[in-house]
């Protein structure tokens, strides 16, 4: 992956979007910049109202940036209307035309492009086969299930062979099981067609399992861009750490900083080497984060990174969740996978130590 030279499909340069004017003006996007590479599965992840749809609609051409520019394969697309962009969209509520059949929905865009009839019908068949919907070609779209509508929406969007496909929370209306199936299906389609996917979701698990890269957004800003592992293991900001998975926050003091790492003093007085976000030089008091599964409980507190009393031990089948009340008053969560050999070694009230894996600690920017 890393040795390939990445070509940018979409470059978003310093884009802002303001809705309304005067007192009611609202900044939905605030100087957003991001490069989306060719053939990648790129996810915009963030809570409701953070501006995901707004960014997507600008790439599609339904709204225009107040500021900044968007380039598609190096070309500024500001002046291009939606249908002239090599971009297609799968809408949140599918937006299939209810008065047309499945086949007509897929053919409609091609007909508008004045493609020859034979080519259109061949393409429709091909698309139906791709999403496994051939048997329902002549059904009205109101008479098929949500999951099937989803597939038709995908087929319709892929039919004109776009270079980039935008998907706005396409799975949010489906039930859990169907959602899991469609996640795999989408990933398969993306690999098979080689089209760049820009996928919007507010579901962190979905983002982690499907994406090549993720941009975490909050309140109109992109906070962090990176692969699923980067985002999960090395959150740069408190919001990212909190939004994705469970996290322990510890107050610490920076002792020394050297080549992308910092020695920090933890609440109990022990030192640990923590990682830093690129180009970030911390000083003074900072917050250090650690994922619960990157630490272990030990019976002997001597030499451990943290000390405290076990305040709860919860068995949840695959894992056991330990909560340690640290001497500093903070609380620390540890998650260990269960195995048959390992018995119930610890009980509530025990004095224990917590050992962090090498590289488990990450210094937050804020």
């Amino acid at each position: 992956m890393t040795d390939r030279i990445h070509k940018s499909a979409i470059e978003v340069r310093d884009v802002s979007k303001v809705f309304g004017a005067g007192d009611s003006a609202f900044k939905a996007l605030d100087h957003v910049s991001v490069d989306i590479r060719e053939n990648e599965f790129f996810t915009l992840l963030g809570p409701s109202g953070c501006g995901k749809t707004t960014l997507l609609r600008m790439i599609a051409g339904f709204t225009y940036p107040t500021d900044g520019e968007i380039r598609l394969y190096g070309q500024n697309i500001a002046a291009l209307p939606p249908f002239k962009r090599p971009v297609n969209t799968v809408f949140q509520n599918y937006a299939l035309f209810p008065h047309m059949t499945v086949g007509e929905n897929i053919a409609f865009g091609l007909e508008m492009l004045d493609r020859p009839k034979a080519e259109i019908s061949a393409r429709v068949e091909e698309m139906l086969a791709l999403v496994k919907m051939g048997h329902l070609k002549d059904r009205k779209t109101a008479q098929i299930s949500g999951g099937q509508q989803q597939r038709v929406a995908l087929a319709r969007a892929l039919a004109p062979q776009p270079k980039v496909l935008l998907l706005d929370e396409p799975l949010s209306a489906l039930d859990y099981k169907l959602r899991k199936d469609m996640q795999i299906e989408l990933k398969r389609l993306q690999t098979e067609t080689g089209i760049t996917f820009i996928f919007v979701t507010h579901d962190q698990e979905e983002a982690l399992t499907m994406s090549d890269r993720i941009a975490v957004m909050s309140a109109g800003k992109i906070l962090q861009i990176g692969g699923p592992r980067d985002i999960y293991d090395r959150p740069a900001e408190r919001f990212v750490a909190e939004f994705i998975g469970e996290t322990n926050f510890l107050k610490a003091d920076v002792a020394t900083v050297a080549d992308g790492k910092a020695d920090v003093v933890l609440p109990g007085g022990t030192r640990v080497c923590a990682r830093l976000a690129e180009g970030f030089v911390p000083h003074g008091k900072v917050t250090v984060v650690t994922r619960p599964e990157h630490a272990a409980i030990v019976a002997n507190p001597d030499g451990a990174h943290l000390r405290g009393k076990l305040s709860s031990v919860v068995y949840v089948g695959t894992d056991t969740h330990f909560r340690v009340a640290l001497e500093s008053g903070e609380s620390f969560c540890v998650r260990r996978q269960n195995s048959l050999e390992q018995g119930a070694a610890f009980a509530e009230g025990d004095m224990v130590g917590v050992v962090l894996e090498t590289g488990a600690a990450q210094v937050l920017k804020d």
Binding site: R57, A60, G61, F62, P81, P82, F83, N88, T89, F91, Q92, N93, Y94, A95, L96, F97, P98, H99, F108, G109, M112, L113
Partner: protein, 271 residues
Amino acid sequence: MNTSRHFGTALQYAFLGLAAFLSIFPFFWMLVSASNTSIDIIGGKTSFGAAFRTNVVNFFTQVDVPLVFWNSTKVAVLATVLTIVVSSLAGYGFEMFKSKARERVYSLVLLTLMIPFGALMIPLFLMMAKTGLINTHIAIMLPTIASAFIIFYFRQSTKAFPTELRDAAKVDGLKEWQIFFYIYMPVMRSTYAAAFVIVFMTNWNNYLWPLIVLQSNETKTITLVVSSLASAYYPDYGVVMIGTILATLPTLFVFFVMQRQFVQGMLGSVK
């Protein structure tokens, strides 16, 4: 407890019975009277008589039925189609396109609902007279086409039309007018059906304005003809009733044909 429930039910039935009676009796009386002579009708006879044939024959000799029906149908259908196309375009526009003046202009449109027709009658008549349209069907249709109520109805219904459908159509390369005719109209067809029923009935039953602008017998519509029969010096009520029945049939027909769509349209056409 049991008796009080029975009493409640009885009261309900009594009320519904009365309501049914009040709405059905005029129809019944219309049918009965059509089969009686004028003298019997004035005498208050409420059973079927033997004069139906004579009444029909008299009506058809006194009135040029094909011409009158043609006038009414032409005016009602044309005015209805024009009203619906123009007002639905306006309603769609008001909802879909944002501008600073939008709500102000819209309020002005709604404000026109509050002006009683009586206040508009004379200015409208003068306008028609100045433009030489008196005694033409165009004069009846023109003032009805931009209907504030239908604009309001379409704007409200358009709120349920998903913007995503419009975006999807834009991705497919449709222009604004194509989106309206190829996507919006078919998707909103039950809204259109309901509007058609309402507007058609209003136009078909329109009386006061046609009475003012239409002056020659060749242009008159059925409502005018029936009412002129009723206001003759010696009105033949049996003949009037035949006219009334004939005048009611088209609206009944339109309603029954579009009943399902009408109800759907009133409930909101996009589910």
